[in-house]
């Protein structure tokens, strides 16, 4: 790295305190030489030899945001090219970049102040990669590419039998003529690919295929003139077999690895039936018994029972009536519903899920980086082996046979399987987890889950249901409860709701003020009331009493409450199980005695009374900590965690923090299990890919000759079948 200067737009700064906090947060990052933050413009200028992602992360941890832009591009390139493509986009302004070599999707997070998506598209085009930047264009382009492969294959399949016929009947001139369309037309994609790789000083599968085809074909063409052995058959069959294998492989990968958003139509209240994509927020959609809901919305009329197992994994149908939220892709078991649309189709839960699943495979898991380095050396090593094979055999056998051995080496080597091994394994695990209601947003989090040492749970809403109960403990004045209930009726805080449920007596309330995280204040029937946590009361009422929440009337504590919550089903068993292997903790902002009781009941240590910042610091201080909490309120701790999991509340996953979004606590076991499986699948795939090359390259080089000999065309067939095998094995392994 060298010294650079970058301008970032900081979001959320209000005053000089904010400027100080942001400046300090940036200065903490390694390699920073200078920072200047401007409150008026909202820009920060950073200078030094630093990593941009660390700067962004540090500012976000300090409670501010940095303007970033996410770009998804589909790159048309061979899997083994991914390290080159990633290094082509490693430039100023790029915060992070991931490439899924199975689907070709390149995800970039950029600083729009320094670089634009057009700049990146330009850089990648210069590199020679074909790019598409919308999902529809993506699908069309995949189809177009597949069609071109099919046409090439048809031409190859038509002419190759003719080449074989004339070759074996001794009409070499005709064999040559009919091999021209096969080599030039059908084989052109490999020559083009090899040229692109060469221009970028790289080598890949295309290099190997085009080298083997052109060596065989040119050598034969020269011998046709000079008189000697020709193998137009081998050259043509080589192209045909590689094409057949690669077309099937591309088709399979497209069909299996690309998850599609299901297509639906929607019946509007106007009687019109339209494509679900055309429905707008505010439209009323009608759903009848037995139909799938095409959109997210709120029940506007009618009642019905809905099977939401696609979201919750719970197959018991839930009753829905007017005002209840409903989610697209759930199923109306019986009844009739009119739904007021609250989210357009592209933003529904299921669409977000599909995007998350498709994106997760782009994660650059640790082992992939190692494999990527190996791939860089793989093809040059194969070319060296092919040359060596030629010279060794040239001393023993005729030139033409020595050449066939070296062509076979080039044709049999399969760098693709190496490139596909890791992303396919990630893709499969991410998809399996998504079926259990776990959305893995970053594949690397899944890889990290197996290294977790401690598991920290948030309490309210995570371990417990979050439905609080207030229990009066000290009551000096009976009317204090009714007055407190009347005042808290104006609060939307869960504690407020719990207190307000204690009395239904109507009273005159005025001057209600709520202090976030502290308490409330107001006048009730002419008395000044203050309800809040102990330290809040202490600061303002001088006196206090025992309890979690104290009611102070006209400067004197008059009543206090304990706040209790209900533990979710199955938590005890889950925690008992996790305690066997992990250090389990509960971190909570609640300072009530209920938190202690809960810790005793579950047999885990509870750290209570923490602010959001303190929770985040606790998570950071623990080695390899997994934090599970509410994706909105615990965002800070989730971001600080080695693996951050948010429990899904509502269906808008894009608003939640977390590498992984789960729908229940039990999902933690699936995640850890998935992490171990991922590692073993990656190992299996790599063992297969390396094993294949380690066995077949020596055979192609003629190590078993004359007992066994692998002609170039069958070497090419074995190569393309290997990619298919890795793909099929990844997806259909029991």
């Amino acid at each position: 790295m060298s010294e650079k200067r970058e301008k970032l737009r900081i979001v959320g700064m209000h005053c000089a305190t904010c400027v100080n906090t942001v400046t300090k947060s940036i200065e903490k990052v390694n390699g920073i030489k200078g920072v200047s933050v401007n409150l008026a413009t909202g820009y920060a200028e950073v200078q030094g030899d630093f990593r941009l992602n660390e700067v962004v992360e540090s500012v976000r941890k300090a409670g501010y945001d940095v303007e970033t832009q996410e770009i998804r591009l589909r790159v048309n390139a061979n899997p083994e090219e991914s390290p080159k493509i990633l290094s082509a986009v490693t430039t100023e302004g790029v915060i992070s970049s991931h490439l899924n070599s199975a689907t070709g999707i390149l995800s970039l997070l950029i600083n729009p102040q320094e670089i634009s998506s057009n700049d990146l598209v330009g850089m990648l085009s210069e590199y020679g990669a074909k790019l598409l930047n919308s999902d529809k264009a993506e699908v069309t382009a995949i189809k177009k590419d597949m069609n071109s492969m099919v046409y090439s294959l048809i031409v190859a399949s038509l002419f190759t039998p003719l080449v074989l016929f004339y070759q074996y009947t001794g009409n070499y001139i005709y064999a040559f003529i009919f091999s021209v369309p096969v080599i030039i037309y059908s084989g052109r994609r490999y020559f083009r690919g090899a040229y692109r790789a060469l221009r970028n000083r790289a080598t890949d599968m295309d290099t190997l295929v085009s080298l083997s085809v052109s060596t065989a074909w040119i050598y034969s063409a020269i011998n046709l003139v000079k008189g000697g052995v020709v193998f137009f058959d081998a050259a043509s069959l080589l192209v045909t077999f590689v094409l057949a294998g690669k077309t099937l492989d591309a088709y399979l990968r497209y069909r299996i690895s690309y998850v599609h958003v299901p297509h639906f139509t929607a019946r509007l209240s106007t009687g019109e039936t339209v494509d679900a994509d055309q429905v707008n927020v505010g439209d009323i959609v009608i759903v009848k018994s037995g139909e799938v809901l095409p959109v997210d919305g709120v029940v506007y009329g009618g009642t019905g029972e809905i099977d939401e197992s696609i979201l919750t994994g719970e197959s018991m149908p839930n009753k829905k009536k007017k005002g209840d939220p409903v989610t697209a892709d759930s199923y109306l078991v019986n009844g009739y519903l009119e739904i007021y649309v609250t989210r357009s189709r592209e933003n529904t839960y299921i669409a977000q899920l599909v995007k998350a699943v498709n994106d997760a495979g782009t994660a650059s898991v640790g082992i992939k980086r190692t494999v990527d380095r190996i791939i860089t050396y793989f093809t040059p090593a194969i070319i060296a082996i092919a040359i060596l094979t030629f010279f060794i055999w040239y001393m023993i056998v005729p030139l033409s046979l020595a050449l066939l051995f070296s062509i076979a080496v080039l044709a049999v080597a399969c760098p693709c399987a190496l490139g596909l091994a890791t992303p396919l394994a990630v893709l499969v695990q991410v998809r399996k987890l998504s079926k259990k209601g776990v959305i893995v947003r970053h594949g690397d989090a899944l890889e990290k889950a197996k290294h977790v040492k401690s598991i920290i749970f948030d309490k309210t809403g995570t371990i417990t249901t979050g439905e609080l109960r207030a229990i009066p403990v000290t009551v000096i004045n009976e009317s204090a409860i009714a007055m407190a209930a009347a005042l808290e009726r104006l609060s939307s805080h869960p504690v407020g709701r719990a207190i307000s449920s204690l009395s239904k007596v109507e009273m005159n309330v005025s001057d209600f003020t709520e202090f976030m995280g502290e308490g409330v204040m107001g006048n009730v029937e002419g008395h000044s009331l203050l309800i809040g946590k102990k330290d809040f009361i202490q600061k303002n009422c001088d006196k206090t009493m025992d309890g979690d929440i104290i009611v102070c009337i006209d400067g004197n504590p008059m009543a206090s409450f304990l706040i209790e919550d209900e533990v979710r089903d199955g938590v005890k068993e889950l925690i008992d199980d996790l305690k066997l292997n992990y250090d389990v903790l509960i971190a909570t902002g609640d300072s009530s005695s209920f938190a202690d009781d809960l810790g005793k009941e579950l047999g885990v240590k509870v750290i209570k009374g923490l602010t959001a910042q303190e929770k985040a610091e606790l998570v950071k201080s623990r080695e390899n900590a997994m934090f599970i909490g509410d994706g909105v309120n615990d965002a800070l701790a989730i971001k600080q965690a080695y693996v951050g999991i948010s429990l899904r509340s509502g269906s808008d996953i894009s608003k939640q923090a977390g590498d992984i979004v789960a729908n229940s606590l039990i999902a933690i076991k699936f995640i850890i299990d998935g992490s171990y499986k991922l590692e073993s699948r990656i190992r299996e795939n790599l063992a297969w890919a390396f094993g294949y090359n380690a066995i077949l390259v020596p055979i192609a080089a003629g190590i078993l000759y004359p007992i066994f000999y692998l002609p170039p065309q069958f070497a090419a067939l074995a190569m393309s079948l290997n990619s298919i095998a890795v793909t099929l094995w990844s997806f259909f392994r029991p």
Partner: protein, 54 residues
């Protein structure tokens, strides 16, 4: 009505969600960070006035 943030000295609207009650008086802040700073040392800010102004 506008109030003064005791930490940074900025003018703040009373309707802000960042506020606290200290010794019976309500103080308003421009953002969460100022409130956190105030809670650490309320007496200090009330005696010497806004510190973070440049």
């Amino acid at each position: 009505m506008n109030k003064i943030d005791p930490v940074c000295g900025m003018e703040v609207d009373e309707s802000t969600q960042y506020k606290t009650l200290y010794k019976g008086k309500v103080y308003y802040f421009c953002a969460a960070n100022c409130k956190i700073e105030f809670d650490k040392d309320p007496e200090g800010y009330l005696k010497s006035g806004p510190r973070e102004m440049h």
